[in-house]
């Protein structure tokens, strides 16, 4: 039956304790709905067939039945109260982070997610590293418009609002990458405002804090090879050339750091100028001057984007100063140079 197959495949991985209690309520509602659907629509179809007009037959004059009406008022009321209470109990767990939760600050801005670790002062973009089996609380705010922070695997979501703090918390129990979506419409690149929660074992998390880099972390719940094939990186804008391995690394960085939300590699203008043919080209800025797009121009445009605003674009890019290592800058520059 379509409905059953649909429901077996209908949920994302359950990556936390709360996700499991959420799933239990979900399945209760699904089966309750199937029951009422069959009762109502099945009943309707049955009645339509059984009492289709026949020659000579007469309808019966019935205007109501108090017992029936009382029943179909009282039973749904009781069920709805149960559902309400159950929903509130699970919600309560979702909305109250344990007091020992590790706090990470989150800033949403068009169109990337920035994460700050209070303890180390470290900042990451579009990837938040967390240990498994330890509660983590994300305290979030927005720099511009509304955003929404949604981790399907943990069944948690909150709007991210300018001028106030909201939060979500979770305790990941499956290591690997967990997808994050922006769920409050925020303009051009809303659908590319993506991030990953990277859940590491406690030892790996300590190593990460100490500066170790992790390559090819699998998607949570999948084998590494499979996950690379499936969607190691979300890429929605086709990048063309890749020359040499540094450029390849740079290409990846433009995806994970959120650059591709605004900069295309195919020559189409998005929120910012395209990378295509950019290197060594003449760039006209809003103050009427022309600049040669050499390495220093590119570096300045990444670290201090408002210094030179290209004609036809808005000064909306955030600074990446201090967010990229020298090696990463080298890789990104190598990539931009390769997109001809």
């Amino acid at each position: 039956m379509f409905f059953v197959e649909a429901h077996a495949a209908s949920l994302p991985l359950s990556g936390s304790e709360i996700a499991h209690s959420w799933d239990l309520l979900w399945y209760f509602l699904v089966w309750l709905s199937v029951f009422f659907f069959v009762l109502i629509v099945g009943g309707m179809v049955y009645l339509a067939v059984a009492y289709r007009a026949k020659m000579g037959a007469k309808p019966k004059y019935i205007t109501g039945n108090h017992l029936l009406e009382a029943l179909w008022t009282a039973i749904p009321t009781a069920l709805l109260l149960i559902i309400f209470v159950w929903g509130y109990v699970v919600y309560n767990k979702m909305s109250r982070a344990p007091s020992d939760a590790m706090e990470i600050r989150v800033v949403g801005k068009q169109w990337l997610w920035q994460f700050q670790y209070p303890e180390t002062g470290r900042t990451t973009i579009n990837e938040v590293y967390v240990p498994v089996n330890k509660p983590v609380k994300l305290v979030m705010s927005s720099e511009d418009v509304l955003h929404g922070f949604f981790i399907p695997n943990f069944r948690v979501k909150s709007d991210v609002v300018p001028g106030m703090y909201t939060s979500v918390w979770f305790e990941a129990n499956v290591p690997g990458k967990h997808q994050v979506f922006c769920t409050e419409y925020c303009g051009t690149s809303h659908s590319q405002m993506l991030a990953q929660v990277v859940a590491l074992s406690p030892e790996d998390f300590e190593a990460w804090k100490a500066g170790k880099k992790f390559e090819n972390i699998p998607v949570a719940g999948q084998e590494p090879a499979q996950s690379v094939a499936m969607r190691d990186q979300v890429r929605l804008v086709a990048a063309s050339a890749t020359v040499g391995s540094l450029a390849e690394q740079g290409k990846k960085l433009t995806e994970t750091k959120g650059c591709i939300a605004c900069h295309s590699a195919d020559g189409s203008a998005k929120v910012g100028p395209s990378y295509k043919g950019l290197f060594q080209s003449q760039v006209a800025t809003v103050d009427g001057k022309n600049w040669l797009a050499d390495e220093n121009y590119l570096r300045e445009s990444i670290e201090n984007p408002n210094a030179k605003i290209v004609k036809g674009f808005q000064p909306v890019m955030p600074t990446f100063k201090g967010l990229l290592t020298e090696a990463e800058l080298n890789a990104i520059l190598a990539y931009i140079k390769s997109v001809k």
Partner: protein, 527 residues
Amino acid sequence: MSDNYLTASRGIKSWITTVDHKRIGLMYLFSVLTFFLIGGIFALLIRLELFTPGQTIMDPNTYNKMFTYHGAIMVFLVIIPSIPAALGNFVLPMMLGAKDVAFPRLNLASFWIYVAGAIFATSALFLRGADTGWTFYTPYSIRTNTTVILVLTGAFIAGFSSILTGLNFIVTMHKLRAPGLSWSRLPLFCWALYATSIIQVLATPVLAITLLLLMMERILGIGIFDPKLGGDPVLFQHFFWFYSHPAVYIMALPGFGVISECIPVFSRKPIFGYKAIAYSSFGIALISFIVWGHHMFVSGQSELANFVFSLLTMGVAIPTGIKVFSWVATMYKGQIRFNAPMLYALGFLEMFTIGGLTGVFLGTLAIDVHLTDTYFVIAHFHYVMVGGTIMALLAGIHFWFPKMFGRMYDEKAALKAFVLVLLGFNITFFPQFILGAQGMPRRYWGYLPEFTLLNQISTIGSWFLAAGLFYTAFYLGRALIKGERAPGNPWGSLTLEWQSPSPPPVENFTETPVVKSWPYEYRPQNS
């Protein structure tokens, strides 16, 4: 044959200055259907873009405008006026045995105010467009450089049309009922319109104020909603949903009324639980004012507010359930005929049941946290708004078509179109429940590759739905020109509008009807 309302006077001027509620109803109907076509084309383009995960036919900025137009046009220019203003205008005075509505000139003014609103809203299409979504959430709606102000002005103006129509209907029902037509003999369509009118009159002004504040914020920077100026963006959502949630019932209640008329007529049975259905309309109207916060469970609203709004929201399901059970029970021991209006009423029951049950998911606090702002919500409200209101509109159009135009349509063609619409709709929207549960957010121009299959099924479904609707337009258009002449009462209905010739004369009845029984007196001996 004496003149009917269509032939009594001729020429464009006789239409645009008419104060005949039937002609005004038809002008609304054609305007609404025109915008339904435009909004529908946007919907098809949206689905086509979503056929592949990346770019299919348009860039993200164009896509964002498409879903904004689709939503704004369908909500403000199609669904809100569809049944009350178009069908209600035509049918309500006749059901009451009246010559017209209480304020015929005001009625004409309502129509032209609607047209003015529509012109403002759609003029944005030819300028820089609008890309805020139909919900106009701040601060995005303040910052975007699109011509959102025109759409806001359009919705603001169209709101007054809705208020005036509601007012007109309330007075009409109080003052112009035929002799013998007591409140307990009022057809359920009238009860539904009464409940709708109350919401229109009480809730729409709040929308007007909200949109006005938003315009002032954009033009003058007054700082009501912008946190940079000390405002609160969440406050906008409260204002917006304080209207827009009750508005859901402006859209749904009249549809319930149509279904309550169709099922007894084609089952040859009295409606089951007349009083329960009538009162439940008012129950729904009342509760609709105090559940707006369920749109905001993850908005940053307080946990206490979430608790209260979730509990109250469960209260909506009870009167709605009573209606659904009563409609199904009406068919028991009937003699059911499957004319087009009945088919659409049954289609309505299937889709609205799914829409209603999934509404319980979304009213449940924890469940909503995961599902809100995903495709689950899109699927849910399309099952309610299209599966509910648009199916009821189609039921109503097929039901009253012979009365409006004095012609019958091809029932075989209607059956084929119905099958296409039913299948097309379910194929389009059912997969979206699964997409949403899997986590695909709404208003996404691009999506992850694993969502591709379900999106493609949905897009293909939209073509079937469109085919069914275009076919409906075709055979109804053909019936207008060369359909068989309709008798006064082709369905054997007992409500008053059928006791007059088809099409009716200018003032509806040759002599004032006198009502001696309630409208669902389908006794075995007279059927």
